[in-house]
Assembly symmetry: C2
Homo-oligomer: 309 residues x 2
Amino acid sequence: MADVVVLGGNGFIGAHVVDRLVVDGHRVAVFGRPRSAPPRYRSADVTVIEGDFANTADLRAAVRGAEIVIHLLSTTTPASAEADASVDVRTNVIQSIALLESCVEAAVGHVYFASTGGAIYGSQGRSSYAETDPTEPVSPYAIGKLAIEGYLRYFHAVAGLRSTALRISNPYGPGQQSHRRQGFIPIALRAILEGRPMTRYGDGSMVRDYLYVEDLADMFSVLVRRVPERFVYNLGSGLGVTVDEVIDALRRVCDMPFTVEDRPTPVTFVDRVVLDSTRFRSEFGDLELTALDEGIRRTLHAMRAEPRG
Amino acid sequence: MADVVVLGGNGFIGAHVVDRLVVDGHRVAVFGRPRSAPPRYRSADVTVIEGDFANTADLRAAVRGAEIVIHLLSTTTPASAEADASVDVRTNVIQSIALLESCVEAAVGHVYFASTGGAIYGSQGRSSYAETDPTEPVSPYAIGKLAIEGYLRYFHAVAGLRSTALRISNPYGPGQQSHRRQGFIPIALRAILEGRPMTRYGDGSMVRDYLYVEDLADMFSVLVRRVPERFVYNLGSGLGVTVDEVIDALRRVCDMPFTVEDRPTPVTFVDRVVLDSTRFRSEFGDLELTALDEGIRRTLHAMRAEPRG
């Protein structure tokens, strides 16, 4: 029986986390919808639990006997949630409550939840955001994530369920699907590889905190190995990078000409996201992070190897 | 046609707000379910809009033509929400989204939303909480209120809908129904009047910020008169009062013997709530607040006059 169940383990972040946890010696199971395509994680030693996040009975069966549950599933992306204001609440929030109730019933030891550092703080004009700063989410995606964080607190209070909320910045890297509307770097790389203009939102000054996905998987590795002391952690690089700086990096790495097409910034996008990651670093130590050029290089390399990667 | 529509205008807070706004010269309409009982507000000059909060078509009809919408409706209380973890999300949050969408369609000028100051900050061990402090709600009731605050921000960003979130502390006063599970003071007064022991949760040291409901109605009055500069305001007395201090006040005011029965504090109750109300006061000026003994006296008086008031 698996000791770690990863919901969404076949997603972009999930596949990297699953591979890392298998290397660490965990017995890992992945919960998700049946797929005809081969899995996105590489490890052969993974138990597959087919099921639908929308089906509470499936969730109940998935977490039975698990020591650790990692909840990476989202029915929406920051962009998709805009089209229907309540879809995050009706799907992600409601089913995350059902998942946490299932974890209580199954006496799961610890739940890790992938929240969002990229949108939960909103636009407060701070140079960076720490876990102790107020949250001012504007997008339904981030409002839903914040509500789920609240329910983690609730189920700890009423049922003793231990949990950790991880406010992840902007992960990027191999395996990020450029046909979804999430991930500036792979979307730009795909356009460049296909000879199309890449899209720049706004005037190029928008700042993001990019985290190479393998570095994020390393963070999950230590968080699962040692029980975290705090309830919430920012997981980011701590570095602010503008859109124009990413475009410069893309020019250096790709070494091929491309054009840039400007589009207005969607209104729920925040101007600046930089996560103060002092809390994680002071508890778990400094992890060596992959430099942006190197991360883009590896992403490009993977994309060339797998056209729809 | 009304210029102010109050959803939940026939509730405890609502009735006082409605009476105050009528005195101020507003044309007021009250939205709520059909009732056979006489209304709880006193003004005769109020338009009644019968409808169900769960029915989006009713909400759409209610806000049509309104300049100001005051949203005081809640399908739950802090206590009721505990029984079913997702009921707040399924009812209050989803229908508040529908309400805000209706306000956008109807080009409503300003929405005021009754959030909660008594539970939204959670148990952070601070002596008092300002609007700039982080929110750490534990109860589904407060998690839902925080999500609705997020949607106010969202509809402002995507549709320009102006709104204000009011984080109200612990209002008490005439008209608070002691058979609902909300309101320590009227519940205690009812027990005393009926010769039953009153219930004390915990060891008597739990601190609340009690606000006399007429003072709260005064705050609504100025908030509606002058467009607020900020998005969120704490509405409280700024004074922390322990349960034992309330019991002392009850002894002084009631002037009759009563016994106290101890019960354990529910796990989602926070230890201490005191709202720093500097933001409201510095923008709108100091309002003279009703002292606790005087507020309890008036509440008792009203309760004696109307047995189920």
